[in-house]
Amino acid sequence: MSPHVLRRPSAPRAIGALLAAGALTLTACGGSSFDDSGSEEAGGDLSVLIGSSGEAETKAVEGAVAAWAKESGTGAKVTTASDLPQQLSQGFASGDPADVFYIAADTFAGYADNGSLEPYAQDLSNLDDFYPTLTQAFTYDDQVYCAPKDFSTLGLVINSQKWSEAGLTDADVPTTWDELADVAQTLTQGDTVGLAISPEYARVGAFMAQAGGGLLNDEQTEATADSDANVAGLNYVKGLLADGSMAFTTDIGAGWGGEAFGKGQAAMTIEGNWISGAMQADFPDVDYQVAELPAGPAGQATLQFTNCWGIAADSDNKPAARELVEKLTSQDDQLGFAKAFGVMPSIESAADPFKTEYPQDAAFVDSAAFAKNVPTLLGSKDVIDDLNSKLPTLADTDPATILETTQKDLEAVVADSQ
């Protein structure tokens, strides 16, 4: 650096000039955001930002949005995000976000908390048709913020060929923990392990739920991570790992359960309905069936995951955005999305048509009856990430030790949210 080029006395003035320029820019910023909020009734075209799983999803959403635009006379454009949370955050900070967008349940609270989201869902005509547990996932401060877009539950995915080769029949599909342990043992042969799952809360948590546990209570007002039920759930998993009838995908070199399952490294896995797309694309020859997860000491339970259609509080045309979401969550559109890229409709009235159309996925839909949400409090995602970083070593760790830290972190999260 060579400061000699500039005359000494000029330096403070340079800073003065910079500050002046800065102040100008800031005034400009303030002015524009003021205009935005004033022009709500002006209407305007909608921008829709989605995080797409692929071309099929992009095409389907584009088609549905275009159909609405034509019908309503309001223009609408779909953009796919390469990194949805990042692009959303950027939009909210700039004061000019997309009008309608996908929001994942685990990042929802952050956006609701900083006021970026419009709590429009109260006024939806089809609000009562959504599964109550799904709208609960998008409730913040007693307000339903956004309409669930679709959802997924975890099911037990079984390789039909390995199943029958091991001498098992339909009657053997496990309905209890003991039966699951038995069939996993039977299916463990040679290089194939009976059951393989990813070592993360989004899979292992199902066993905690079956034992009657959960990271938070249903109202999300209390941290319950170190409950005996959770310890029991983890101990069951630990037992299967010790038996060798179950393995974590990380230990057998697979990226996720579907990969281990498709490659034949595992005879069973626990995944959601997204697995059908992956199996079709990567392992079309593997024949499989899906069963509901077995019941633990506290009965049947599974985890569910969902996304919603968010509307920005800073949107210029909220009434139109709400109409668009109403259409996108209608039975017709949701069944169309199901056909195009295999998601499950978030409304109860579409369950039966869906099951008729896709009988092989019936178990996933039926699991909605006993599905639990993953925690959605602000900051709980970080805690779950932290828990996920410890689960891979579950085989050699005391579950209570793992849960102890999680409990402490969640208590802080709950305290912050109240």
Binding site: A17, L18, A93, S116, T250, L378, D382, D385, D386, S389
Partner: protein, 341 residues
């Protein structure tokens, strides 16, 4: 802008010519830095302008959340610091040594096809880090080329990017220490215990370390080549006449004359390694077991993914402070000792 006095005349002209640059730098560099500094001491949550009326000043709360106690934010920051310390401590010396070694090699007049080797060694540096990360993910997968080669010599390679075990922990395990001695387990720094601090880089981080050495050595090789070509042959010759052998000539003649370049390379290396982000973002996002989490990625994650913008900005400024302190320290260590400065 008006200026008075004799110097004012020239000042006006000077400032007029400089104004485009000053404006651009001010708008895109200085202003954002001040904005970030403000965000780091505010409770801004990522909606609208951070300067709007309803954003409050919270003092050093954000810094305190990261630096004190054993909450999750502090543990994450401690973990990311541990990871990055090992990353820097291994990458900077190794890449500098390798760069110098390569530069000496391709600078030799007797070497045939010098141009080819120079290009080959430099090639990784001009390739995008994202592309190289993807390549690395393939090479170091459980069934990848690296493990194939290892299996040829009878070694069972790990599943690199899925393996959170620390190298030093593994080594300690070999000599029978596989759980924390009480003194290490019960005391902690930045939210994680000393036993976790001495884990060493994880196997996954090691793959990133190898990658950094592979990609940046070429860049620094270029700097060393330029410096080597500036050294007159006379001194080398004089050394030869005085009977110094090749190592002595390198150690006592070449190396001291390379000091300014060495400073540049070490500084650039230090800054680059403390700011490692692309590889983590494209490759592992901090997994497995948070062992590839770095402060730069943590800062991004806190801000964009969890809306903790204040903490994200605070991490960025702590990182900035670390880099400045280390650079000053290194400048002091590499100073001319005979009092020329």
């Amino acid at each position: 802008m008006s200026r008075r006095g004799i110097s004012g005349r020239q000042g006006v002209a000077g400032w007029t010519f400089l104004s485009p640059v000053v404006l651009v730098l001010g708008l895109f560099l200085v202003l954002p830095v001040f904005m970030a500094l403000w965000v780091s001491v505010s409770d801004w949550r990522g909606r609208g302008s951070p300067f709007s009326g309803d954003v409050g000043f919270v003092g050093f709360d954000n810094y305190a959340a990261i630096l004190s106690g054993d909450g999750r934010a502090a543990r994450d920051f401690g973990t990311s610091m541990r990871n990055n310390v090992y990353y820097v401590a291994l990458v900077v010396p190794l890449q500098t040594a390798l760069a110098l070694f390569l530069a000496m090699l391709v600078n030799k007049r007797v070497l045939r096809g010098r141009g080819f080797f120079r290009t080959a060694f430099y090639f990784p540096s001009v390739t995008s880090s994202v592309a190289i990360t993807v390549l690395w993910l393939f090479l170091f997968s459980s069934t990848g080329a690296v493990n194939k080669v290892l299996s040829l010599v009878g070694l069972d390679g790990p599943d690199w990017f899925q393996d959170p075990r620390g190298l030093l922990h593994l080594l300690l395990g070999v000599v029978g220490v596989d759980s924390a001695p009480g003194a290490l387990a019960n005391h902690d720094l930045l939210g994680i215990s000393w036993w976790e601090w001495v884990s060493g880089p994880s196997v996954a981080m090691t793959a990133f370390i190898l990658m950094a050495i592979f990609t940046t050595s070429g860049t620094f090789m270029l700097l060393f080549i330029a410096a080597l070509q500036n050294l007159g042959g006379e001194i080398e010759e004089a050394g030869q006449i005085d009977g110094a052998n090749a190592w002595q000539r390198f150690r006592y003649l070449t190396l001291p004359m390379l000091r300014p370049t060495m400073f540049t390379v070490l500084t650039l290396g230090l800054i680059g390694t403390w700011q490692v982000f692309d590889q983590i973002y494209t490759g592992t996002q901090g997994n497995p077991g948070k062992t590839t989490l770095t402060p730069a990625y943590l800062s991004f994650n806190a801000a964009f993914n969890t809306q903790q913008w204040g903490q994200g900005a605070a991490i960025a400024f702590i990182l900035f402070a670390i880099i400045v302190v280390l650079t000053v320290l290194q400048r002091w260590l590499l100073r001319e000792k005979d009092g020329a400065r």
